[in-house]
Symmetry: C2
Subunit: 336 residues, 2 copies
């Protein structure tokens, strides 16, 4: 677990997409975020108090989170300098970057010198077992999608928040770097060796008998020619009781592969149910989550209503309209 609360790093970032991990933390773990750190030339803000490293330490911060994406996968000199200063000031440093902090000699030395920790969340756990598919106790929901980056993490986190607000036990299980930083733990599935995909998920979401739900963050898509292997292993390892299908209704083609069209929701639903049945024959779909941020609100509402009727499944935009109808259906299918 990464010690909170956090100081969120924006550095010199100039690109809104590049700070999505820091933003995810600010949105989903506001109580863990004491402020943001940015240089004078950074035009972006998360709406948090701008703090120096010394101010953040005084405010109780325990970890500097490098929640940014770096072009080219290398650690920029400024970023290394800032991280080194944070370690010297008594903060741990966490990163979702491809390039590992531990592989940067200056940071490894500074962490050792100041007795602080470096968290590389893209580093897979060392002891991942091979999956077994053996039935395990507890209830699990998995978000799946017609494509990558269609809102699976947001949907899963919003389900957690809304279920907890209803007094239900529900725990987000992270499978990507942003989710891991938000949750404080998880498995970076894109860094696990191929033979261990389902095993990594069995380990992430062990048996539970408290009546609560594990809400597992999906990855990729069965219809994505680059990543369907990951999605398949994730479905088998998750052994889900419930699936939520995520979809972006305005996307022109599969992400990164312009020669592939998105599947329609029905085909996606059917394929995911079929694959999931290998390890849980009783799996059911309980909802459809759309990202309608690019549509007028009335059109978005009409589309949700239309899809709800077409598939006899609650369809909503979790950000715009909430996830209540999906939780209602979940509770209807699986009495607490």
């Amino acid at each position: 677990m990464i010690p909170g609360p956090y100081l969120l790093y924006l550095g010199n970032s100039r690109d809104e997409v590049g700070i999505k991990t820091s933003r995810g933390l600010a949105v989903f773990r506001p109580e863990e975020c004491v402020g943001e750190f940015r240089h004078d030339d950074c035009p972006l803000t998360l709406g948090l108090t701008r703090l120096t490293i010394a101010q953040a330490v005084a405010a109780g911060a325990k970890t500097l989170v490098l929640g940014i994406v770096n072009a080219g996968g290398k650690l920029a000199p400024t970023l290394v300098e800032d991280a080194e200063a944070a370690l010297a000031a008594g903060l741990h440093v966490a990163s979702g970057l491809h390039h590992r902090l531990k592989d940067e000699p200056r940071l490894a030395a500074a962490a050792s010198r100041h007795d602080r920790l470096l968290f590389d969340v893209r580093e897979p756990p060392a002891d991942v077992p091979v999956g077994t598919g053996a039935p395990r106790a507890g209830r699990r929901l998995l978000t799946v999608g017609t494509d990558c980056s269609v809102g699976k993490m947001y949907t899963t986190l919003l389900l957690e928040k809304a279920m907890r607000a209803r007094g239900l036990r529900a725990d987000f299980r992270a499978t990507g770097q942003t989710g891991i930083l938000i949750a404080g733990s998880g498995v970076p599935l894109d860094a696990v060796v191929a033979d261990f995909i389902s095993g990594a998920i069995e380990q992430l979401s062990p048996p539970r008998d408290d009546g609560g739900w594990d809400l597992i963050e999906g990855q990729g898509s069965l219809f994505h020619p680059s990543f369907a292997g990951v999605s398949t292993g994730l479905l088998h390892g998750a052994q889900p009781d419930a699936l939520v299908i995520c979809h972006d209704p305005v996307r022109a083609h599969m992400r990164g592969v312009p020669h592939f069209k998105l599947p329609d929701i029905g085909a996606c639903l059917e394929a995911n149910i079929r694959v999931a049945q290998l390890t849980n024959p009783a799996v059911q779909a309980v909802g459809i989550a759309l990202n309608t941020s690019a549509m007028p609100r009335d059109e978005a509402a009409a589309l949700c209503a239309d899809i709800t009727q077409r598939f006899d499944l609650p369809c909503t935009d979790p950000v715009a309209f909430g996830v209540s109808p999906i939780i209602d259906r979940l509770l209807q299918c699986f009495a607490p």
Copy 2:
């Protein structure tokens, strides 16, 4: 490429299953095998001349192949000593073991001292791209299976041999350590990071325009709860024109997971066609390969005839009865 010819290592092995990689080489690359190396306490033989390291060098051997499985994943002291002696005598050393030769300081030092190479075939290539699914030239056949270890490598290699005997261009593309040692190159798919499974296969089997076939060695099974992610990425990356379904008719349950039954051939056929269609909508099954080694020959022949009729696909045991009917069907479906 691993320089041949080879000296095949049995060492102190006492278990027939443990020497399957050395045996695979003796069966499929006899022209590359000058002899076998075994200690006095090894009761096994590949039927090759027993040679000392010095005799093997004199006979023209270029590489000692450690084609054995080691319990516990560690390199035994005797094995390290033998490999060191081979390096000193002028041989390269190749290994399909989990534990890498390069990580054994004595061997790394000896290889450097004697200017010899260490080949760790379980080490994935460093520059694997993400798969794209973009259509590519050439024809590809992939073996798939109802389970792991049902004869996919043997079937693929026997298809290569028989197609070449008919004057066709056909090249085995290895995806496992035994296949890689037999072929001299390939990709150890079980060691590739999850996001790169399909990309690794696209790289292994690049476009070809000489009218020949790439015969890609399958791995795992869509129905195996541990490894279906690998099989899915392999299907997408292979972009196969033709599939051959491999099956063991006497196996009681899925390998390693006793709570899972084998799927029937029809379900396996249908699922593989459906997944393969994502990157090649025109994919066709061209045959069924059984491992009937545990059955009386007449029963095996009757079973093949029965399955041939049931699925309207040529069914054979490649080892017992050859692969001719499958090649006939392949040529019928895909005119040269």
